[in-house]
């Protein structure tokens, strides 16, 4: 009988990408287009392409439907570019959907970015009012909460100073404090908690859980899985603009990690979650054993060479100070990293194509499934980064040469460290024992 707080039906958002239609156009382009389009159509027909010489269409969201009950706190997770932010933008009415519809029952407050509407020249006090009004707060409401906002931000002494004199930490804290005191019935939050120092992040998370407990309906996007599992009983997994799963957040998170592993195809060039400026790209990652054979699974306790094939975007560019980071993780937990800059030197004068090879004599991992992330830097700039780039499978093996290794990671943990046990007892120990009596 209760009606939902948010009802989303078949929501879809289409973007046109590619040269001509992207970004903003000029009147000249539009005019020449208007003149040339008929001819292009004819030409296309003659060549047999069909009439729809349409620009490239990309559905950021497609057929998205879900309901959120009043008072529910729902996490939204997914990879970068999966469509999470587009969904939030539509629900906050920043952009309109191409198809479908959504109904929101109640006052909506959205927090897609911290510090929206802050003006450098204005004082902290003036900015609190301005930014509050932009987020839909009434002046009365801000008056009432002003002291709390200032106390939360901890910038009391500088509240009448222009914010351009603030440190970036003070600025973010004040901006978040305003946003945190919105009192909508439905709150939409994008990944904004990753601001400020650790202590402030704790405070933000605390504030978020207060909000969650206050009976408000919350949609919360984050890449921080532990925050999701603490704050949100249920979660939605978004992938390629569609809803992949909706349910208990623990299960949704498990599926998310599963998805990250499964879709970690060898074709890195198809990965949409790739980061970095592309000066250099890692095109392949594979494992070699010591004989130089490519292996899928690695027997526990054997040596391995991680091979990362790279190619420079510009073969003529002289790339120096190159470093590679290879991380070994198990789901959301990072176990250890191989950082070339730390363990050795920066690579100089890189040939345009080649391989980075990382050799490990004895990989200290229990049998099981792991994940590999990599990052590549030229100087200080990130040129390439792929998380969950490759699944690392460690098969049963004999790390200690005793044939007694169990493969129960839940009990024994994931890491193996070469070691030996021995028994020691000296004549002196026995003498001491004697004296004691």
């Amino acid at each position: 009988m209760s009606s939902p707080a948010i009802r989303v039906e078949n929501l879809g958002k289409q973007y046109r990408i590619g040269g001509r239609s992207g970004g903003y156009s000029t009147i000249r382009d539009t005019l020449t287009d208007a003149f040339l389009t008929p001819f292009r159509r004819l030409k296309a027909l003659a060549q047999g392409y069909g009439a729809s010489d349409a620009p490239e269409i990309f559905w950021a969201l497609k057929n998205v439907s879900f309901e959120v009950q009043p008072g529910e706190v729902v996490g939204i997770i997914g990879r970068n570019g999966a469509g999470k932010t587009t969904l939030l933008k539509i629900l906050s009415r920043v952009t309109s959907p191409t198809e479908g519809r959504a109904q929101l029952f109640g006052r909506v407050g959205s927090l897609l970015e911290v510090g929206v509407g802050f003006h450098q020249e204005l004082t902290g006090r003036e900015n609190v009012y301005l930014s509050g009004a932009i987020m839909g707060m009434k002046k009365q409401e801000i008056n009432r909460q002003f002291d709390q906002i200032v106390a939360f931000s901890g910038v009391e002494d500088f509240i009448d100073t222009p914010v351009k004199r603030y440190s970036s930490g003070m600025y973010t804290r004040l901006a978040f404090a305003v946003a945190a005191h919105m009192e909508p019935e439905i709150l939409i939050v994008d990944e904004v908690l990753a601001v400020g120092d650790m202590a402030f992040q704790e405070k933000c998370l605390g504030k978020m859980s207060d909000v969650a407990r206050s009976g408000r309906t919350v949609l919360f996007v984050s890449h921080n899985m532990s925050a999701i599992s603490i704050l949100c009983p249920t979660a939605i997994l978004v992938e390629e603009g569609r809803i992949r799963f909706q349910g208990q957040s623990s299960e949704t998170i498990a599926r998310y990690i599963d998805l990250m592993r499964k879709t970690s195809v060898s074709q890195f060039d198809r990965r949409q979650d790739r980061r970095g400026n592309g000066l250099l790209r890692i095109n392949r990652l594979y494992l070699n054993d010591y004989e130089g054979k490519v292996v899928d699974a690695l027997p526990c306790g054997t040596g391995v060479r991680f091979v990362l094939e790279y190619a420079a975007a510009d073969p003529a560019a002289a790339l120096t100070d190159v470093s590679v980071v290879l991380m070994v993780a198990s789901g959301a937990t990072r176990l250890f990293s191989f950082i070339s800059e730390v363990s050795g030197d920066l690579f100089q004068n890189l040939p345009p194509v080649g391989r980075f090879v990382c050799q490990v004599d004895k990989l200290p991992l229990m049998p099981g499934n792991y994940d590999l992330h990599f990052l590549c830097f030229v100087g200080r700039q990130l040129v390439d980064k792929i998380m969950f780039a490759w699944p690392l499978v460690v098969s049963d093996g004999d790390f200690f040469g005793t044939r007694r290794l169990s493969n129960n990671r839940d009990i024994h943990g994931s890491l193996l460290v070469p070691h030996s046990w021995s028994l020691e007892s000296s004549q002196q120990d026995l003498q001491n024992l004697e004296d004691h009596r």
Partner: protein, 287 residues
């Protein structure tokens, strides 16, 4: 006494009116109630513009006088003294200044409004509110400059011994006409500017051109009737001649020009609102 109240409406209470988000792009859906709800934002944005405008300037608000005053000096020297352009029987300096006050309000409002949406790109792509508030706030903040410039006008009238007639009561109406005109142009240009940045480059030219076809430096009485009435197609012609008539009591009764101007100003504004509303939903995607 302890009879529990019977919640009669519980079953049929439809609850709060939901916010409906869809792809609908209707032409004429202006939500006045929503605009009213956001009136405080309009006020805060205008206040921001006013506070920020003359920050870190030496002359501060005096700029609102410097601009029309020096333009008046130049006009008086070249058009009044050298070209001997007639000024409807009043001293040329005050003849041009009374026109420059509404003109500069108009010109500044239009050029600032045109850039206002693009300048607020960050806001537009991150928060929802009726976008029309942005150019509206620019207009509102421009009024402060207008009144400062107008106060000098009264000083000049005192200097030239000109006593305002009763017609001065029409001034608020004429100001409204200037606002409507500026808002109409501002809405059109700001929305166009989101998609076509050509607007930014054509604007100085457009404003200059508009100045020449507005009787700021010369009287509209140079034109014979019935052409003078058609002059009102440019709503600023009506505003400028109206200001002269209301404040200085010039003999060119501008009734017919103003009537024409009012009609065209409203056409301008209404079409501007419609165009703006239609484009509003796509702003965040193309800005």
């Amino acid at each position: 006494m302890d009879t529990p109240e019977v919640p009669i409406n519980l079953e049929i209470d439809p609850g709060p009116v939901p916010i409906i988000i869809d792809s609908g792009r209707s032409w004429a859906r202006i939500d006045f109630r929503e605009l009213w709800d956001y009136r405080e934002l309009l006020f805060f944005l205008a206040l921001r513009d006013i506070k920020v405008r003359y920050k870190q300037t030496v002359f501060g608000i005096t700029w609102a006088i410097i601009q029309p005053f020096f333009t008046m000096l130049v006009f008086s020297l070249f058009f009044g003294r050298l070209a001997k352009i007639p000024s409807d029987g009043v001293p040329y300096p005050i003849f041009s200044y009374v026109a420059l006050v509404p003109w500069i309000f108009f010109a500044n409002s239009v050029s600032q409004a045109s850039d206002s949406l693009v300048g607020s790109a960050n806001l537009i792509s991150k928060v929802y509110f009726p976008r029309i508030i942005i150019p509206f706030a620019v207009m509102l903040s421009g009024l402060v400059d207008f009144f400062v410039a107008l106060s000098l006008m009264f000083g000049m009238m005192f200097y030239f011994h000109i006593i305002p007639t009763l017609q001065v009561i029409w001034l608020p109406g004429l100001l409204l006409l200037a606002i409507v005109t500026a808002l109409g142009a501002g809405l059109w240009l700001s929305a166009l500017n989101v998609q076509f940045r050509d607007v930014r480059y054509s604007l100085p030219f457009l404003i200059q051109f508009w100045l020449f076809v507005t009787p700021v430096a010369y009287p509209s009485s140079l034109l014979p009737e019935p052409w003078r009435t058609f002059y009102g197609i440019n709503p600023m012609a009506g505003v400028v001649e109206g200001f002269r008539w209301a404040l200085l009591g010039t003999t060119t009764a501008p009734g017919s020009i103003i009537a024409f101007s009012a009609v065209f100003a409203v056409v301008f504004l209404v079409s501007g609102i419609f165009y703006f509303q239609r484009m509003e939903m796509t702003f965040a995607d193309i800005i």
